[in-house]
């Protein structure tokens, strides 16, 4: 009698289990495929804080798997087949690293969830530079591509990609550009402040303080429309058809069920709708680029194709 009751209860629980799983995620783990302190790490921890404090998911744990532009973390995620309680932050940098590193695993091997935030890139020149706008810069660039040195982050990264896209839009052979990569934001800034390069490219936040202080002049931003609070004309409005966002998103393990994917996406939707998330974006100066579900699947494929094309045009990928 007693045994029968237990068996029945267990059966009922088992039947009920999938239904509850589809609505709630428990013991979520977020992998930041970079070292503590970096962009993906900060994004992961911001997600963790909001998910937990809004009571959307409890508990959430963040762990770091740094290396090779995130492709080491990606390989690890692709091995966690069917793990519905694991997510990984990623972004455009990873899309590029997969190409330049010749990574064996690409993003078709994981489950896309959402694009979260991003930052637009700015083109800046030193305050003493004769270039007042994109047209001035492009004119000088066209006369002698080699002499117009651009400073930015590591080869093949977002900054380099933007310079490649600009060259193409201006009708300059992207292979002829003189791109000077620096390993950290600090050195790029130093090269600009020291008048050692013609122009520099980075996320707006990296140059913001210098732009506001008048030490650097921002001549173009890579967004489609002018950004609120940023007094910089878009590159597009100056006749160069270039748009680029250094976006960050989140993906899940491969082989998870549709209901597991839906549960993760719905948790992210709830997070995005919360006031706390909006406040977080504001203090951190992150632009809201939220895009979830199948729209993000499509976007990811398009970005992968575009990235490959740019990297090929600047000669980094065969």
């Amino acid at each position: 009698m007693k045994n029968k009751k237990i068996v029945l209860t267990l059966a009922a629980l088992l039947l009920a289990a999938p239904a509850t799983l589809a609505q709630n995620v428990n013991n979520l783990r977020i992998m930041a495929p970079a070292s503590p302190g970096g962009g993906w790490d900060q994004t992961s921890r911001a997600i963790q804080t909001v998910l937990q404090e809004q009571g959307i998911v409890k508990p959430v744990q963040v762990f770091n798997v740094p290396g090779a532009g995130g492709t080491i973390g990606l390989a690890q995620l692709s091995n966690a087949k069917g793990d519905g309680s694991l997510m990984m932050t990623m972004g455009l940098v990873m899309v590029g690293a997969i190409q330049t590193n010749g990574s064996k695993v690409d993003l078709s091997r994981v489950t896309p969830l959402a694009r979260l935030t991003g930052e637009y890139e700015v083109v800046v020149v030193p305050a003493a530079s004769p270039y007042k706008n994109m047209a001035d810069l492009v004119a000088a660039w066209k006369t002698d591509p080699g002499k117009t040195a651009f400073a930015g982050g590591s080869a093949g990264g977002t900054d380099h990609m933007l310079v490649g896209l600009l060259a193409k839009a201006a009708g300059i052979d992207p292979k002829k550009i003189n791109y000077v990569p620096f390993s950290g934001g600090g050195e790029t800034l130093a090269a600009l402040l020291g008048n050692q390069v013609a122009a520099g490219v980075a996320g707006y936040g990296e140059f913001e303080a210098q732009i506001k202080a008048g030490k650097l002049r921002a001549i173009g931003i890579s967004s489609a429309k002018p950004q609120a609070g940023i007094d910089v004309p878009t590159i597009k409005s100056q006749g160069l058809n270039v748009e680029l966002a250094n976006w960050r998103g989140i993906v899940a393990a491969p082989g998870i069920s549709a209901s597991e994917k839906a549960a993760l996406v719905s948790a992210l939707d709830k997070m995005h709708a919360s006031k706390q998330w909006k406040d977080t974006l504001k203090t951190r100066n992150w632009t809201d680029l939220y895009l979830s579900g199948s729209k993000f699947d499509v976007y990811l494929k398009l970005e992968a194709a575009r990235t490959k094309e740019v990297l090929q045009s600047i000669g980094l990928v065969k």
């Binding site: 070292s35 503590p36 302190g37 970096g38 790490d41 900060q42 921890r45 963790q48 804080t49 963040v62 762990f63 770091n64 798997v65 740094p66 290396g67 090779a68 532009g69 492709t71 080491i72 390989a75 330049t100 590193n101 010749g102 990574s103 080699g146 002499k147 040195a149 590591s154 080869a155 093949g156 003189n178 000077v180 990569p181 620096f182 390993s183 950290g184 934001g185 600090g186 050195e187 800034l189 130093a190 090269a191 402040l193 020291g194 050692q196 390069v197 936040g205 913001e208 303080a209 210098q210 506001k212 202080a213 030490k215 504001k282 203090t283 951190r284 100066n285 980094l316």
Partner: protein
């Protein structure tokens, strides 16, 4: 004058009981992570970032600054006592410091390191207080070609660390340069010597190399000698403090080390390591007792230790005034500012004066705390050497392994650590100096990057290395360092 008023206001912020407590927690934590191999201030601050998000920014930064300065103080301890540097900036300290410890003068070596760090830290903080904007403006004018010339200067003076045989020293240096080549090439984005392993694409973290060659190598070497002959238990002598002669021989190196370290900290990609190399060479050349170098010369501890602490203060100059991180820890501190929605740069002193000046004031306080913490601890630390070797080195092995694993949470790194450990053992066994290899790993990649960046900026024109005044001057120094000693020798031979 304006700086002085602001600084006094800063002291008001920093001297509240709660902020003093945060400073104390910071310096204690910093000393601890400095002592432990592998775990440095950068990683510690990064791990604490999410925890401190709820603290007021002033308190968090006071604690972070304490960790940063504390790490520089603590790094020398294991260098001196156990020949296993906890940080790359205290590699040079091991050269003379450990020899002093083996002679039973560990307490004096620790004391000169602590006092030197205090003096350098305080002078550095003074310069930060009163001259920061001016220094930062000069620092960004240092071009890649000048940086390349500076590193060349460090390279030609490295022979001072070679020990007995120049050939063995050079071989060791080239091993280091080779290790430094592994990973993705910054300029072209292509992989070099990565053997198809994604773990090697970011290069080999030099902390892994340092801990492998020093800590693991030393452990294996000690283990291999343990049963041979009687164990040489070191007798502690000379008491806890420095003798009059020690003071006389230390103050010059402290000041010269400070003068070298501070500007290097302020230069982008300058770092804390190069000034320690230069300081060591300089002290060896200037010393009245050059024969003592390699056998425990106190100048060789005092100078480099002052240099690395002064550079820590120098790093804060471009970080606070320009928002320009020049070291790993500075990059993390920048992330910490951004966590609070703050943007370090020219406007920070105006928009967040209370925070900046509170932070600067806390640096003075932290320095005093660190001296008070480390000086009495010197004889206590020195007693560490009385622990029987098997237990002591077992502990080093555990801490080193944990430290390296914590870098990337990667088992692959542990394999690398073991490999470098065996190489380190072999180098000790066959009498190759270890330090030049580390110098190669640290300086090689920087030298290459600066050289190629300079050429990219000049669009391939080599004259950039002679046309800029500063670069040309440094290149002349390099030539002088190479040929003047030979010339003098040649003359002396002809005269006799």
């Amino acid at each position: 004058m304006e700086a002085l008023t602001s600084l006094l206001a800063g002291f008001e912020t920093a001297l509240t009981p709660i902020n003093l407590l945060w400073a104390l927690i910071g310096v204690t934590l910093g000393t601890l992570v400095g002592v432990l191999p592998g775990i440095g201030p950068a990683l510690t601050v990064a791990l604490l970032l999410p925890v401190t998000a709820k603290l007021p920014p002033v308190s968090a930064f006071i604690m972070f600054a304490g960790i940063y300065y504390g790490g520089m103080f603590g790094g020398s301890t294991t260098s001196i006592l156990l020949n296993t540097p906890g940080e790359s900036a205290s590699i040079i300290t091991a050269l003379e410091g450990n020899k002093m410890a083996r002679k039973g003068r560990a307490a004096a070596a620790l004391a000169t390191a602590a006092i030197g760090s205090f003096i350098a830290g305080t002078i550095g903080t003074l310069l930060l207080t009163f001259a920061a904007p001016a220094i930062a403006d000069i620092a960004v004018q240092i071009t890649p070609s000048a940086k390349f010339a500076l590193i060349m200067l460090a390279f030609v003076t490295i022979s001072a660390t070679f020990g007995g045989s120049p050939l063995r020293g050079l071989l060791s240096l080239f091993v280091g340069l080779g290790i430094g080549l592994v990973g993705t090439d910054l300029q072209s984005g292509q992989a070099r010597f990565s053997l198809g392993r994604p773990e090697l694409l970011d290069g080999i973290d030099f902390i892994t190399v340092v801990i492998g060659l020093f800590a693991i190598g030393e452990t294996l070497y000690v283990a291999s000698r343990l049963r041979k002959g009687k164990s040489d238990v070191i007798k502690l002598q000379g008491g806890a403090t420095m003798s009059k002669a020690d003071w006389r021989r230390s103050w010059g190196p402290w000041l010269r080390g400070t003068a070298l370290g501070f500007p290097f900290g302020a230069i982008p990609a300058g770092g804390a390591e190069i000034p320690t190399f230069l300081s060591y060479t300089l002290e060896k050349r200037l010393s009245k007792h050059p024969e003592e170098f390699g056998h425990g010369a106190i100048e060789g501890v005092a100078g480099p230790e002052a240099a690395n602490n002064a550079s820590a203060a120098g790093v804060l100059v471009p970080l606070l005034t320009l928002g320009l991180p020049t070291s790993a820890t500075a990059a993390i501190l920048l992330a910490a500012f951004q966590q609070y929605g703050l943007q370090p740069g020219p406007l920070l002193f105006i928009t967040n004066g209370e925070l900046v000046w509170g932070l600067i004031a806390s640096l003075y306080i932290g320095n005093v705390m660190l001296l008070a913490l480390n000086l009495p601890l010197a004889p206590v630390w020195a007693r560490l050497l009385l622990i029987p070797r098997p237990f002591l080195y077992a502990a080093i092995l555990v801490f080193s392994t944990v430290g390296v694993y914590s870098l990337n949470n990667s088992v692959f790194d542990l394999g690398l650590l073991a490999l470098f450990g065996v190489i380190g053992y072999g180098m000790r066994r066959f009498d190759f100096p270890v330090t030049p290899a580390i110098i190669g790993v640290v300086l090689g990649p920087t030298a290459e990057a600066q050289f190629r960046t300079a050429l990219q900026q000049s669009n391939g024109d080599f004259s950039i290395f002679v046309t800029q005044p500063l670069t040309a001057f440094l290149m002349l120094c390099v030539l002088a360092a190479l040929f003047v000693p030979q010339l003098l020798k040649f003359r002396a031979r002809r005269a006799s």
